[in-house]
Subunit: 252 residues, 8 copies
């Protein structure tokens, strides 16, 4: 419609029903968001194929399902993150095709097999970090990346990490998940020269301060090449890892 | 220039050198910021007459004077806030007409008398809060508001505040400045039904935590009608008070 | 009654039953709060028509209803904020006329249509911010303001905000509600020259620290003209926005 | 028994069964806590008549009742603070004579009328502060002080406080209870020259940070003569107020 | 003058120049602060004889001397706290009679010998706490209290404290000064049944957080009868100790 | 197996089936973790006999039992810490031999009597600290240490601590457990010259900040010889105390 | 040399001077770090050409120059970050070839022109953020990346940012630098689908808390694809941006 | 003297000048600290040979020298920690024999060679951590321990640490010093089964928060056997390491 408005204006100019000056003035006062919207959309369209994601907390199960249904009309692999039991139940009753990944606390709506490209490694320090690590891994897979998991390789048992140096050094992006003292990303960043996206988890007690201790450790990493996302934000880390990996793999 | 580009395009349409469709497509891909800039400018132009302000910390005295010189070509009452001695010296050597308000730590470049409209009251709890209060008062005056000062009226000596209830109740906006326990805005907000913009100051020691104690107290005010700006931000409070007062006084 | 006491004293003076000096002395020792009370009432009376509000948390449903009943004897549109299910049930059983606004977590007792004056815009960044935004919007409406809502316009999708620049630039006061990184008020403050009252919400997780991250962002806004209220305090923001809007609309 | 040991030693010296040097050496190596214990007890004995208090949280109801039974064998007015419903039920089933003060969350075991001496005033800002204020008031009464209550006198409605200046100025100690911005103790400390013991409460939300905002405000009071206890610690404030009042009233 | 206004009004009533109703109305609208001022002053007058105090930081030496000169016209023992070298120099040049207590960072203007009444004990944990402890001690002496000092008695060397249990148990108020882990007030509060006013100091490094560690420890004291003032606030603690001691000693 | 791989390689070299250069190259590219693993294992093997421990929170009861079953195949006295009721029920149904220590919130699987060596003293300030203290004590016992308990010896009742100075001075390591103001380790560290491992507990309310107040106090101890572990980390303190005590007792 | 040791051992096996078992045992006890070192070096060697960097704070100027001299023997473009005047003076006197980039607070030793590949965009919100932004830009250039700068595009003047959407959408990595409310990365992350590495700066005052406000805002970004480094860590962001960009540009 | 008092009393008993009962009573009322003092001294005497230490900050150079002179009369190797240039100058002028260890910021007064026993390893992550590490190492040496240093072995270059696993596994106590992300103690605690005393340093910037990030990481170590001291507290860590090492070496 905005296009139509512009078109009408241009026709009026062409047909000498409106002077050039008047048209300039009129265009100047058009809400720029009308054109802007299209422009931004254009950039966003580059992301076509990427599944949209719904962050469940703070939404009712019914709302989540409704949004998922809308998105699934256009996309496969729509993700609902941090899905609790009530959300899972709502999907079960929805008639939508979905997969529930319990460890990852994820629902994948209209699941479709995606051929993974490149390599994203998701490393996790302890077993309690697995929900966040699995969220990252499944999100990365859904976004079309080849994902390898390196779990239970915390710094108190370094040898388990050292076994995987070869794999880590081939990754285009590494998501490193750790709670407690959060040292894993620093150690990985010291071992291999690949971008490490660190995810602090809320695993711990007392002075872990809900993950702040791990977050601070990661922000103060003595290894260059480590950046950090919010506590427990496996989704965000996977999203950036996918951006990097797919650029390297020339998928976009 | 962007206007010219648009004008050229429109002329081409008028002269049938370009089809309407081509012109629509072309306009659609124009960086919207070109029009957007004008549009925003349009809104900003509503502020005509308002002096621009330069926050000095982090800039060299030479930079401050250069920016001031540029702004002063178009505006009177250009403000340089938090001006220390080196900035004052730079202005003294600059040849620019200016006024130095030592208490307020302000330089007013190309000072011009403004007829103040409406009423903004600046209240301050203690003598140590005066630099921030004066910053607020002079900024408000420079922005064209009538300003009344009510100083040294902290809650440990309530009677000094109670004397001024009449004045406070006539203000279109009240800037309430206090450090330490920061109770002044609550008390004022309980006495009169006018918008109170609270400014915590870094006055205090130990658990004042550089003004955080006062800030928290103000955010938790039991009086409705109190909003808060950053610690020591007399400028920001005055700016909003001016927005309110001038709307009420129908000056814009 | 205090008036009566004063009247009796004055009659005694008139009738020469008490000397002027004795009366001066007597008046001087009268508890000043007696007169003071009246005086404050005088100021408060200017707010006539404004509904009183009850903050429910920490009160039993029975207490809330009792207070509401008392207030409703004198006022329409008495508000009970942050009303949970037990409070709603208590009102359902109370026989009082009321309206329950579920999203806003508000009860309006003795609801009455108020002709809204001026313009307050309530903008919200995300859907999870809606309870706070709706609290602000309904409170502002109940206080007699014309309210427009601009929702789901967070900074990750700027175009949705830019569509509404025109509306925002006409507001006498803007309540900007956002959680997470809390950038919305800064962006609005940069677009339009109207007073923005920022409300951080507790929406987020991890380092959102229950809304502190958004609060800090808002207090550090690079846009002048932004002030801030407590986390989730939609009521307080609406109250100040109403003070401003009604002053501008000359309703008091 | 320790006394006996010392006595035996002294007899041995008297009877020349042990040399003075050996006895000095022996005494020197006696655990000093044996004598020390008595000494400390001596000081503690000065507190005779004061009811002992049991802080309930973290103890099972059965443990609380057992401790109460033991103490009640020696004392009247044994206090169990922060008693929840399970503790109340345990007392109901215990056969012990007790009084339950619901607002104050207190159980008084073996309640006995105490003639209150001197004057302690307990002032509270809002209705939500009453549980803490009542804890302070009832504890102070149980400790033998005359207590007057001044409630609902927060700084947003100063006139309600000013009515009671006379009473406040007669108190030997004032317990001032407030949440949110915690300004009440400062205002009282500015009005009267009596020791004010401030009790921040956890009343509030968001930036009240569970009472830290009120605590910080109180510690930064611009009024001299204000000291502070832990958040919600009505018991501690009453205890110190009682120490002061009873010293003034020469009851110990 | 306000008295005169009231007097004029009353004369007018007496002389039938004004009706009783008109006078009631007029009185009702008189600013209550006029009468209120007198009333508050009356309470403040009870403090006559107490030296006023000037907190030096944030004031220029010249300002401090000017304020001191004014106060010293009416009072002996005017205190200037936290006086640095520039303030001392200003007094040296001022011609005013003064005493400089270097350890306590205090200037006493118009020093006069005061006969100390009752007993305030000032206890300090370490030598680095002495500036704060001496501030408390000298302030208490200037306010007319008998003061005993118990220094260098931190909990790492308990025997040095235990030597003074007798003295402590005779005090009407104890000021307990400690930095680092701040355990001294708890230990004293456990030994004797007298009001303890705890002063955390900023002595320490790293996690002492400028005295916050000591402050928190004191607020969490397991001994009842301990209240706390701001970090390094020897003045405030002495002020309250003096209020208590002088009440007990019936000096006011 | 890694040994076998190396052995095969060496045999090939010996039998001239592989050149020295090829073998060097091959060894160089062997994942060093293969040898490294063995090496680390060697060190870890020194701990033989030490029961492994399972931190239960964040694991399902089924997972805990499965891990315990595996460990118990090789070790006696396998510990499951912070075991809640659901974990206890899972063990009850598991058929595994176990002991449940309710106060310590511990399950000991395949409990076996261990002759305790040396001396570890576990001291606790208050009764609410007992769960953490008992965790430390039982863990230390399970690790083969002689353990003595000194409970309810907080600094508000020093005499109860002083009774045990003799025992404390014989310990090879002291675990000092305290919440609230956390002063106990400082006092012990001042009394005896033995390593003190301080455990802050989350006992307290308000400004105890979940144990941070005690932690900070302990980190700022004025007594040398005090180190600190995480809040409520009785297990960790016992582990280090055991390391020390067994080194002293020459058990490893 | 370690290789030689292994070679000698293998030769001894080949020549039957050492049994296979002895060799296995010997290899097993070799410090694995000897092989490990080489292995890690191998990975590090992949970074050949990358200039090493020296973080100057905490080192004496002489130490910085000595380290730089050593590194410059092997590398061009050795970086010394956060170089203050004393470091600059030391380089001036050192005889080393160097370039001083004042805004970036950087010294580049043995500067050499590097052909930049791919595209890294460095965006900065305000002029006060330039030192950090320039550090990032120059480091990225020195690491062999093509760098474009987009400065002074803070969210209070969105149009300046919108002009550069095209450039931003072509970047392989974007370094977004902002202080105060730190909203820039969120806005960029919402506009373009490229990895954004956010750098909070310590620009601001009061509640900016030395950059913590900006950091928290960035960690809570509502835009996916944003990760964060330490406050003012332009170097680290540039390092990771370079890792990404060079992977995409297939330079390693 | 107290001994004399007791002796006089005993003689009086022996000589029948005082009854046993009177003597018991007299002893009971003796300040127990008199005997207590001796008793504590007895324990402290076990530390004979240990140099006393003076923490310099907050003391004037003259005070430090005076205390050192007194201590040096009785002890060799008296330590003055955190000695700045003014303290060094004061010792140079004092005539006392001393050694200045610049890196460790230590003065050793009356230095004497001590034969080191056992083994304490001091490990440090980065060169900026050396002042704290050297403080620990020199203090441990002065206390009579054999000390080995393992420096520059931070987790970003693990191989440098792994070289020293053998040495670490022989230590009776390990002092692990690290700033920034503070991961070193966790890694060491995972490699060897010896008590690790972690020292966070204030090395870092931004979110290192003066060492708090490292401290939190250390308190949350996933390796058992790690305890922590205050930020930069090399002295305290060395003191406890010495307590442990000397117990193991049976030197006390």
């Amino acid at each position: 419609m905005d296009s139509e408005a512009v078109e009408r204006l241009l026709r009026a100019v062409r047909d000498d029903e409106m002077s050039v000056d008047a048209a300039v003035a009129r265009l100047r006062t058009l809400p720029y968001e009308d054109l802007g919207f299209a422009r931004i959309d254009h950039h966003r369209a580059l992301r076509a194929g990427a599944p949209e994601a719904i962050f469940c907390p703070g939404k009712t199960p019914a709302q989540v399902v409704t949004i998922a249904r809308t998105l699934a009309a256009a996309h496969a692999n729509v993700l609902a993150t941090r899905a609790d039991e009530s959300v899972v139940a709502a999907f079960a009753a929805s008639g939508l095709p979905y997969r529930h990944l319990e460890h990852a606390r994820l629902i994948v709506v209209r699941p479709a097999r995606v051929e993974g490209v490149g390599l994203v490694v998701v490393a996790a320090a302890g077993t309690a970090d697995l929900p966040v690590a699995e969220e990252a891994a499944v999100v990365a897979e859904s976004l079309g990346n080849r994902v390898e998991r390196v779990y239970d390789c915390g710094v108190a048992g370094l040898h388990r990490l050292l076994e995987h140096v070869g794999l880590l050094s081939e990754a285009n992006a590494i998501v490193a998940v750790a709670g407690m003292e959060g040292a894993l990303p620093s150690v990985i960043g010291g071992l291999v020269d690949r971008p490490v996206i660190a995810v602090p988890t809320s695993v711990g007690y007392g002075t872990s301060l809900g993950g702040l201790a791990a977050l601070l450790a990661m922000l103060n990493s003595c290894a260059a090449g480590v950046s950090v996302v919010n506590i427990d934000n496996g989704f965000g880390a996977a999203h950036q890892a996918s951006q990097i990996n797919r650029l390297v793999a020339k998928i976009r």
